[in-house]
Assembly symmetry: C2
Homo-oligomer: 408 residues x 2
C-alpha cells in the first residue's frame, strides 16, 4: 500500500491524497461504506458502485462468528465472497467485542493475567468459564492476553487476542486491516483510559508482529494501528505519539462518538500523527462531522449512520437536512428527495426519471423493502458526494493559492 | 393494443406472438412479474430489466387502499410512479377482495340485491354496515351490484363494483386492465360456480361498458375479460364462449390453482377462446405448469411464487429443482446456484463473477435482506428464461415443420 498527498488546503490541515491498494486507488478524503456482515444491507455491489463509494469496511467480529473467517478464506477471501472487487478494509473486532458483548464496561470485568494463569494451573473454574461469566452476568472479560467474550448470536464463549484478530483478518483478506485494540467509552475516567490505552499499545505491538510474521499477508494487506485515549489531551497525544513510532501503514482514530470529539480528540491526534500516512476516523458520519474531520486532517471515514437512517425512512434532503419520508407531507409530494442531487434515486438512470418522495413514502408506509434500498443508495451517494466536493475544494485551493503547509 | 401470432407449434396448441402495447411489444408466451404494491419486493426496476421480464402486473386492490389510485394518477400514472417504462397490467382487484377479505367463501355472504335496496329504503342497518359485518364475522358481502369488503389494513369498509374497479384501473393507467370478476374457490360446487360465473359475465358487460365510455382510457388501455367456472367443463366452456362474444381485447383465465387444472379447465377454456386474442393464465407459475400452459395455448402467465420462494431462501437450482439455501450443505458450497444459468446472480455482470451458494446461504442465515433480492432476481430470470426457451422452440418448430394447425 502506498499513500501520496497530492494537495493541501492552505486554510486548514485538510489534505487530498491517493491511497494505492492491491484492489485499486482511493482518492482521499473518502467516505467508506460499512458492510458489517459482508453486505451493505439491501444494496447490491452494482448499486454501491453507482453511489461512488471507493472502499467498504467489513466487520471482523461478525464475520468470525458467521459465516466464519475460515469459510471466507476457502471462498477465496472476502472480496470474492461478497463480489466487491474494489478496496476493502476490516476492523479489528475490538469495538464489537466490547460494545456488543460488554455494553461499554457495564458488564465487563478486568482481571490480572496472573489470576487467570493461576486458575488454569489449579484447574479451578476461571473467568474463562462460561458458567462463571453467566453467573456474574458478564459478557466480556479482559486480561492482558486478550478478551474472552460471549457471542451475541448464541451466547457461546470466544476469545480474541491481538494475534487471533490478525489471523482472522488474514483469512478475510481485506486490503487494509486493523490492530486489535481495547475500545473504551468516551466518558470513561482518566485512569481507566490510561490503562486501556497502554494495553492497546502493547496489543498494537503484538498485532504488528503477528502481521509482519506472515510474509504473504504482509505483502497484500496494510495494517493500521488504533489511537485511543478518550477525551484526555495528554493521553490522546501520547497514544498518537507512541503508535507513530511503530511501523504501521496508517492509523485509525477510535473512541470518538460525538461532534465535540472532532474539535478536541481528533484535532490533537491529527497534530501528532505522521503527515505521510493515512488517517481513518472510525464510526463518524454526520455530514458536519465529515467536513470538520477533513479540516482536522482526516483522510478516511466510515459510519453506519446513512444506511441505518435510510432503513427507517430518513434521508438527507436539500442542503443535507434530514427528512423522514413517513411524514404525512410526503405522501403527495411528487418531487425527488433533492432536485439538486445527482444520485440514481433522485436523478434517475439511463434517461429514466428518478423516484418521487411520494413513491418512496408509499414504499415505507407499505413496509416494502425496496424503500430501504433506494433510500440507502441516496444517503450513501449524498455522503460520498459531500466528501468528494471537499476533496475537489482542497485540490482547487491548493492549486490557486500557494501557501505553506500549516504549522504541525 | 394489437396481437399477432407469429408462429404455431405443430405438435400442440402452443403459439408464439407479439403483443403491442403503448409501452412496448411483448413477445409471447411471456412470464410476467407481480408488483403487488407497485414494486416487486426488494428488486429495483433496473434489476427487473436484467431478468428479461417484459411486463409487470400490479394489484388494484392494494394500490386502491394504499397509496390510493387518485394519488397514483396525480403522480402521472403507475408507470411513472414506480419508474417502470415497459408494459404494465393491473388486475381487477376481485381476487384480493375475495381472498384477503373473505378467505374463499368462509367469511363471505351473498345477499339479494333487493334485500339491500329495501334495507336502504327503510334506513335500517344493512349488510353494508361495518357493525353488521363485524357482528357476523364477515369480511366481504356480495350483491348483484358489487362487493362490500373490509380493508385488510385497518378494517375500514369499502365497495367495489365493476364500474369502480375500471375507474380505479383508469387512474392507475396500466396498458392492460382486467374486468371485475367474482373469484371463487376451485373446489366450490356446481351451483355456486354457476351463479358466480353468471354474475361475472354480467359484471364483464358492465366493465366493458364502463371502459368503452372513457374515450381516452379506451385508446390507451386494453381490457381483458376473466373466464371463470371452476372445475366444471360445461361451465368453463360456457364462460369462455360467452366472454368470447364480448368485445374484449384479451382474456384472463381465473380460478385455477393446481397442476390438475392445467389439463382440464385451462385446456377447455383455450379451446373455446378466439385464436386471435391473447390469453393470460392468472396466478400460475410452477415451471411445469408454465410448460403445460403454453402447450394448451396460454400466452401470458403471472405468479408471486418465484419471489415468495426467494424471500424464504428457496431458489430454482439445476434442472429447475427447488433448493433451500438455508440447508447446511450450502454453507460451504462455493459454486453458483446453477452453473448453467446466465442470470446476473449466477453468471455475474460486466466481467465480475457471480455469487456462490455459500454467500447467499450466509445472507439468509444472517437475515440480510440482500439475500431475498439476489434470490428473487435469480428466480425471476429462471422462469422468464424457461418461457423464452419455450417461445424459441415454438418458433423453430413452426419454421422447420410445415404442419396444419392442430384441430380446434
Amino acid at each position: 500500500m502506498k499513500f501520496e498527498i497530492v494537495a493541501r488546503d492552505p486554510h486548514s490541515r485538510a489534505r487530498a491524497g491517493l491511497l494505492h491498494t492491491p484492489h485499486g486507488t482511493i482518492e482521499t478524503p473518502a467516505f467508506i461504506g460499512v458492510a458489517t456482515q459482508g453486505t451493505i444491507k439491501g444494496v447490491t455491489v452494482e448499486q454501491l458502485e453507482a453511489t461512488g463509494l471507493q472502499m467498504l469496511i467489513a466487520n471482523t467480529y461478525h464475520l468470525y462468528l458467521r459465516p466464519g473467517d475460515e469459510l471466507v478464506r476457502e471462498a477465496g477471501g472476502l472480496h470474492r465472497f461478497m463480489g466487491w472487487n474494489g478496496p476493502l478494509m476490516t476492523d479489528s473486532g475490538g469495538f464489537q467485542v466490547f460494545s456488543l458483548g460488554a455494553a461499554f464496561g457495564k458488564n465487563l470485568t478486568k482481571v490480572a493475567h496472573e489470576d487467570i494463569e493461576q486458575a488454569k494451573d489449579e484447574r479451578r473454574p476461571s473467568v474463562y468459564d462460561p458458567d462463571i461469566l453467566t453467573q456474574h452476568g458478564r459478557l466480556a472479560v479482559i486480561d492482558e492476553e486478550g478478551v474472552t467474550f460471549t457471542s451475541h448470536l448464541d451466547g457461546s464463549l470466544h476469545r480474541f487476542t491481538p494475534e487471533r484478530s490478525i489471523e482472522i483478518q488474514h483469512n478475510l483478506g481485506a486490503d487494509i486491516i486493523v490492530a486489535f485494540d481495547e475500545c473504551t467509552a468516551a466518558t470513561a475516567d482518566w485512569q481507566y483510559q490510561k490503562e486501556a490505552m497502554e494495553r492497546t499499545h502493547r496489543w498494537a505491538e503484538r498485532s504488528l508482529k503477528a502481521h509482519r510474521r506472515n510474509i504473504e499477508a504482509n505483502r497484500a494487506q496494510a495494517l493500521f494501528g488504533v489511537v485511543q485515549g478518550g477525551r484526555f489531551e495528554d493521553l490522546r497525544r501520547e497514544s498518537a505519539h507512541v503508535l507513530s513510532s511503530m511501523n504501521f501503514d496508517g492509523f485509525c482514530i477510535g473512541g470518538s462518538y460525538v461532534k465535540e470529539d472532532l474539535d478536541t480528540a481528533v484535532g490533537w491526534v491529527c497534530e501528532e500523527l505522521p503527515e505521510d500516512k493515512p488517517r481513518h476516523l472510525l464510526g463518524i458520519g454526520e455530514p458536519e462531522d465529515l467536513v470538520n474531520g477533513i479540516e482536522k486532517g482526516v483522510d478516511l471515514f466510515d459510519c453506519v449512520q446513512p444506511t441505518r437512517l435510510a432503513r427507517t425512512g430518513t434521508v438527507y434532503g436539500p442542503k443535507g437536512m434530514k427528512m423522514n419520508l413517513l411524514n404525512e407531507q410526503f405522501r403527495r409530494d411528487f418531487s425527488p428527495i433533492d432536485t439538486d442531487c445527482g444520485c440514481p434515486i433522485c436523478a434517475g438512470v439511463e434517461g429514466k426519471g428518478g423516484y418521487s418522495r411520494a413513491y418512496l413514502a408509499h414504499l415505507f408506509h407499505a413496509r416494502e423493502m425496496l424503500g430501504a434500498t433506494l433510500a440507502s443508495v441516496h444517503n450513501l451517494y449524498y455522503l460520498v458526494n459531500l466528501v468528494t466536493v471537499e476533496r475537489m475544494r482542497i485540490r482547487n485551493n491548493s492549486k490557486h493559492e500557494s501557501s505553506p503547509t500549516p504549522n504541525t
